[in-house]
Every structure is written in structure tokens, then in C-alpha cells.
């Protein structure tokens, strides 16, 4: 005989090897939690086995599955799992010790499949992630998010499944247009966004072979960024959300950069996010999805901004950051530059370093010395990267965080990538850096972040406005 126990009928829990107080505490702390228990018909007051599970919207996770010791190998586990898979009409996942062959055999009997291995999940033992799909071929209901990003000079639309698999991404970049002006001209960027928006939408749907009707929600970068540029994506997202009755999910641009990592592997909390881009240099601690604590940030210029300015001083074309990275590989570290902000904070400062490069370049010119561009690039990059590494390392150690993710356009910098990996290895921190294509602005990251925001129930109404600056949330 089976009984389902929830917060409401906790009093009907029979006595046995499961303590009522424990069950009560679990159900108070876990709003998704439920128990299904097994008792014999002729002794309904003695608990013999149970499955403790969480029903989280459209999926189910088994948290615990246990049969009373003296009654094992009598088919109770079998009965429980059979009943459970019958009543739960959703995809089910669970983790099991890799060496628990009996349990794995039982799960496989009821249609569970091994989908992933979790290294050292149970202290020294690996865990197996197993999944039971609803029907043959159909997994838990897939969630498709359409993301739109237009915060700077890239018009991008992407469709992402379940926050991790890329179905389609289209990016229309204006880099060649803005190159002529030595930087992004906001009004020109806005004008191109409005011209591109329907083409980019159309192409992404064509690539995905999908209709908007099949999308579950629309995620949009509402800020921070160039206001005129943001507005085009925002109005497009709002009208689509209205026309198709799809939830509108507001996404902070930096949250997008951080969640670019979830396109590669799931985020592991607690984690430290190092955000490095043309507009940001920040260290952010995350204890859970969308729980951001800013530990520190730049007090003046962002690192990417500093790279571009230094590039201009030494005569490299916009965008100069990647070009410095290339030059630095062939140069020698011969110029003396000051290491910025050697203090105990998690903050950064790059304007002093920028000024030092400008002064150095002037002085060399006045003395009639030829500026060795590649050497200056090497020396500059060494100092800039070192400053980022030092503060990141400090934050990881102080906060005892074992997962580091790197985000933002400057995460494409080769030297930064190498040095971060080296540093992380030294202190046994697992590091995740998204592939190049997800580092620069794109809508895939917005849709990925949008998926988790959607799961958390975040919604915006049609009065959502774009914001040129806004704290990460």
C-alpha cells in the first residue's frame, strides 16, 4: 500500500525508520518536496520503505530512496519504484553512487538511463546522473528561450534549449562600420539595429526551423548598454511577447555574460565570476542562480577600455584589444610600468596604467627613440593581466570558492586565459572560460540566462524600459 506524504498530511506518517521531525523539516525547507511511502496492508502503521522526491515544475528529482534494512530483497524497492514511475508523469532524474550496482540495476529496469558522471560526487566515489524520460524519445518538457541582444553594436537573436543547448544564433556585427570612427558611434549603431532586427529574427527562426509559437519565453537585454541600441531589441521583444502571449524575461547584460558559461557546462555554486569587457571589470560571487554579490570592480576605466585606448596610443586600429594581445606574443617585456592598485581590496584601476603608457610613449617620442610597439604591448599586457589575476586569486582564497568562471569580451584574450588557468590550477580551483564566440556580445548568453530567470519566475510587463546603467541583479 502506498501513501503520499506532503506538508498537509504529515500526521499520517507511520512510525518506523523515518523520523517525523526530519520529514517535517525537509518539507518545510523544500517547497517542492514530497514522500511516497510503502506499508503492508495488514500493518499500515509500520513504514517499510520510501522515496523522497522533489517535483520542480515540469521535472522530478529523486532525493532519497530507502527500504528498511530487515525488509530488503523482498521486492519492496521494486514495488515502490514501479508505483512511483506510474504516478509521476514527468521526466525523473537522480544521482546514485557508481558502485551501488543493485540500485543502478533497479533503476535501469524501470527505464532510467545513465546520462552523466559526476566526479567524486560522494566524497571519493563518483556519482552517476540517471534520467527517466517521459516517453520513448521525449525528455522532460524542453524549454525553448528566444533571446534578443542589442546593447551595443551587435544585433543578435538566439534560440536556446533548456538553458544549455544552442539551437540557432545569428549575430549581425557592425564592427566594420564603426571601425572607420575609431569606436562605436551610438546613433549609427541604433540606426543599424532597426534596419537589421527583422532580418536577424527571421534568420534565427529559419536556422532553428521553428515558429515563435513553439518558443516558451522571450529573453531581452534591458541594460546596461547604449540606450538607443537597447531600445530596438526591447521594443521588438515586447511586441513579440504581446503578440504571442509569451512571457517577457528581463536579462541584465552582465548576467548574460556570466551565463554564457552554462552553454558549456552547468554552473557550480558557490562560484566566483570574473567579468572583463569593454565596459566592466568586476568580481562577483554567486551562491545560487541569480544571487550576485559584487566583491569589487574597477574604480575608473574598464580593462577592455584601457586596452583600446592603449592600442590607439601605439597606433593600432579599433578595436585594438585583440591586436595588443597578438603583438604581445612577439614582444619582450622591456618597459617598466606600474602595477595598478596593489591593495587589499577586490577593486581594480586601469586609468593610471593607461596614463603611464601614454606618458611613456610621449617621452620616447621626445627623446627621439622609436617606440617598440610589440615590447610595449608585452609589458602592458603583463601588468594588466597580473593585476586581474592577483585580485581574482585573492577573492578565491579569501572566500574559499572552488569554481571560477570568466566572462565578457576580454575573456577572449589569450594571455589572460593562459594565466587564469595556471593560477587556478595552482590553488585547485576549477575554471570555466566560454569559447570565443560566447565571450563577445551575443544573444545565446541572454537566452541561457533567460532560461534560469524563467525557471525562477522572473517576468517583466510591457512597460519594461531600457537602462543605460543598472546594478547586476
Amino acid at each position: 500500500m502506498f501513501i503520499t506524504i506532503t506538508k498537509e498530511n504529515i500526521n499520517s506518517l507511520p512510525t518506523g525508520f523515518l523520523k517525523r521531525e526530519e520529514v517535517e523539516e525537509e518539507l518545510i525547507n523544500n517547497p517542492f518536496g514530497k514522500y511516497i511511502i510503502y506499508v503492508e496492508k495488514d500493518n499500515p502503521f509500520l513504514l517499510l520503505g520510501y522515496i523522497y522526491y522533489s517535483e520542480i515544475y515540469d521535472r522530478v528529482e529523486i532525493n532519497q530512496f530507502e527500504v528498511e534494512k530487515a525488509h530488503r530483497n523482498c521486492g519492496i524497492g521494486n514495488k515502490l519504484l514501479k508505483k512511483f514511475t506510474e504516478i509521476v508523469e514527468k521526466g525523473i532524474t537522480l544521482e546514485v553512487r557508481e558502485n551501488n550496482k543493485n540500485a543502478i540495476y533497479l533503476y535501469e529496469k524501470y527505464g532510467f538511463q545513465q546520462v552523466a558522471k559526476r566526479k567524486k560526487y560522494y566524497q571519493e566515489i563518483d556519482g552517476l546522473l540517471m534520467e527517466r524520460k517521459i516517453k520513448e524519445g521525449i525528455s522532460m518538457k524542453d524549454v525553448y528561450i528566444l533571446g534578443i541582444e542589442s546593447s551595443c553594436d551587435e544585433t543578435s537573436v538566439s534560440i536556446i534549449k533548456n538553458g544549455c543547448s544552442e539551437i540557432a544564433t545569428v549575430i549581425s556585427s557592425q564592427i566594420d562600420i564603426h571601425k572607420e570612427y575609431g569606436g562605436v558611434v551610438p546613433e549609427i549603431a541604433s540606426r543599424h539595429h532597426v534596419k537589421n532586427i527583422t532580418f536577424v529574427l527571421e534568420e534565427s527562426l529559419e536556422q532553428a526551423q521553428m515558429k515563435i509559437e513553439e518558443i516558451d519565453a522571450i529573453a531581452i537585454t534591458y541594460g546596461p548598454g547604449l540606450i538607443g541600441s537597447l531600445l530596438v531589441g526591447l521594443e521588438a521583444a515586447k511586441i513579440l511577447s504581446y503578440l504571442y502571449h509569451k512571457p517577457l524575461i528581463p536579462v541584465h547584460h552582465i548576467a548574460g555574460h556570466i551565463y554564457a558559461n552554462s552553454l558549456v557546462k552547468p554552473l557550480n555554486f558557490p562560484l566566483l565570476a570574473l567579468v572583463v569587457s569593454g565596459g566592466h571589470t568586476e568580481l562577483i560571487e554567486m551562491r545560487d542562480h541569480f544571487e550576485f554579490t559584487k566583491l569589487g570592480g574597477t574604480l575608473d576605466d574598464a580593462i577592455g577600455e584601457c586596452y583600446d585606448k592603449v592600442a590607439r596610443v601605439i597606433g593600432l586600429e579599433y578595436p585594438g584589444g585583440p591586436k595588443i594581445d597578438q603583438l604581445a606574443r612577439v614582444g619582450k617585456d622591456t618597459y617598466q610600468l606600474p602595477i595598478p592598485l596593489k591593495d587589499n581590496s577586490y577593486n581594480f584601476s586601469f586609468s593610471g596604467l593607461k596614463s603611464a603608457v601614454i606618458n611613456l610613449s610621449h617621452n620616447e617620442k621626445q627623446r627621439g627613440n622609436k617606440l617598440r610597439k610589440e615590447d610595449l604591448a608585452t609589458s602592458f599586457q603583463k601588468v594588466a593581466v597580473e593585476s586581474v589575476i592577483t585580485k581574482t586569486r585573492k577573492a578565491l582564497l579569501d572566500k574559499n570558492i572552488k569554481h571560477l568562471i570568466v566572462a565578457g569580451g576580454v575573456a577572449a584574450n589569450a594571455e589572460l586565459r593562459t594565466e587564469i588557468i595556471k593560477m587556478a590550477e595552482g590553488i585547485e580551483v576549477e575554471v570555466s572560460i566560454p569559447p570565443m564566440k560566447y565571450c563577445t556580445d551575443n544573444a545565446a548568453m541572454i537566452a541561457a540566462a533567460g532560461y534560469y530567470a524563467y525557471k525562477l519566475g522572473r517576468r517583466a510587463d510591457f512597460s519594461l524600459n531600457s537602462l543605460s546603467s543598472d546594478p547586476l541583479k
Binding site: 540606426r191 532597426v194 532586427i197 521594443e235 504581446y242 524600459n465
Partner: protein, 207 residues
């Protein structure tokens, strides 16, 4: 035949739903910097008021400028994405045409929009709304000289432009505008774009 009209080229939202000769719902409100926030909610109210679904619209008429660059993009983006995704015929008109057509008096009309630094966006239209002077980004003095050629005229402005006598302030007649342009040929939503009548400053400096 039901038409949706959208004009966000100034600090006002002018929008309406017209069925045959009747106006079912309209909005004429000043929003200034809140236009991006309020435009779509106000347009949604028009559907609610007229008890229509967005799918019931047979034609979208949208103003593509001149005027506020950011403002124009709000209306154009809403209109073009709407038309594109639901496959609804769409056409664009200029804000200056809308101003001339809305005028009551039978006169030569000179609609003008402030473009700052002594410049305006302006055009000249005769009694039958035929264009006599193609809309341009032009020095105020220059267009005023042009105006002197006519005897019986009215200058229509959106924002007050100082130094102009005998100006009328723009009161849009959405029913009249929509009826006038109802049969204007539709274009592909992809090519529905603002016509700013002015390059960006960065482009001007470069040229």
C-alpha cells in the same frame, strides 16, 4: 478594413485604430522620455478598447520621420516586427505629411519640426496636399524665404519654434490621415525603416 496608425516621431504618442470611416480608439499623449516605456502599453489599450485582436488589423500605417531619432525607432520597431511576424500589410508616411493632412484650413501648409541649432525639418504642401517642396533638413531662415513665395499659407509646428509668426500647433486628425493613406502601396516589413533626413554627426564630420 481596419488600420492601425502609429506615430512616435515626437515626444507624443499618436496612435489609433480605424475601421472604415470610424475611429475605434485613439491615443494622443505626451510622454517625453517615457515613450519607450509607454508606447506599447498604450497601443495594447487601443486593442482592448476597440475589442480587437492584433490579428484583426488589415493594415499598419507608421510614421517614419523626420523628428526625434530615438522616438521614430520606437514606433518603427514595433510596427515592422508586428507586420513581419503576422504578415500584415504595412506602409510608411512622413510626419510632415501627417501634419499637412491634419490641417483644417484650405491653404498651403508648411509643416516644420525643430531640428535644433537653427535648423528645422520642413516641407511644403499645397491645398490638395501635393508636395511642392520635398521634406528637408534645412536652415530655418532658408525655408522662411522659400515660404515667402506663397501668399495664403500656414506654418504648422509640433514643438514651438521661436521667431516664427502665424504658426499653428499640430493637432493630428488620425481618421483623416489614415483615410488619406489607406490605399498607399504596402512595402516589405524588412524595408520599413526611419527616414531621418539627416546624417549622424559622426558621418557629417567624416564627409
Amino acid at each position: 478594413m481596419r488600420s492601425l496608425y502609429i506615430d512616435t516621431s515626437s515626444s507624443f504618442l499618436y496612435a489609433g485604430i480605424i475601421e472604415e470611416e470610424k475611429i475605434l480608439a485613439e491615443c494622443q499623449k505626451r510622454f517625453d522620455h517615457d515613450l519607450s516605456k509607454e508606447a506599447l502599453p498604450e497601443i495594447i489599450k487601443l486593442f482592448e478598447k476597440s475589442k480587437l485582436n492584433p490579428q484583426d488589423i488589415d493594415k499598419i500605417i507608421v510614421v517614419n520621420g523626420p523628428g526625434s531619432f530615438t522616438g521614430i525607432r520606437i514606433g518603427i520597431t514595433i510596427a515592422k516586427v508586428y507586420a513581419w511576424t503576422l504578415n500584415i500589410p504595412i506602409t510608411t508616411i512622413t510626419s510632415l505629411e501627417a501634419m499637412a493632412i491634419s490641417a483644417e484650413e484650405k491653404k498651403v501648409h508648411i509643416p516644420m519640426i525643430d531640428a535644433r541649432r537653427g535648423y528645422v525639418f520642413a516641407g511644403i504642401y499645397d491645398e490638395e496636399n501635393r508636395c511642392l517642396f520635398t521634406p528637408k533638413h534645412i536652415k530655418l531662415e532658408t525655408i522662411l524665404k522659400e515660404v515667402e513665395k506663397f501668399s495664403n499659407y500656414a506654418i504648422i509646428t509640433n514643438d514651438e519654434i521661436e521667431k516664427i509668426s502665424c504658426q499653428r500647433s499640430y493637432q493630428p486628425n488620425i481618421l483623416k490621415i489614415v483615410n488619406y493613406f489607406q490605399n498607399k502601396e504596402s512595402i516589405s516589413p524588412h524595408s520599413v525603416n526611419p527616414d531621418y533626413l539627416k546624417l549622424t554627426e559622426a558621418e557629417e564630420k567624416k564627409n
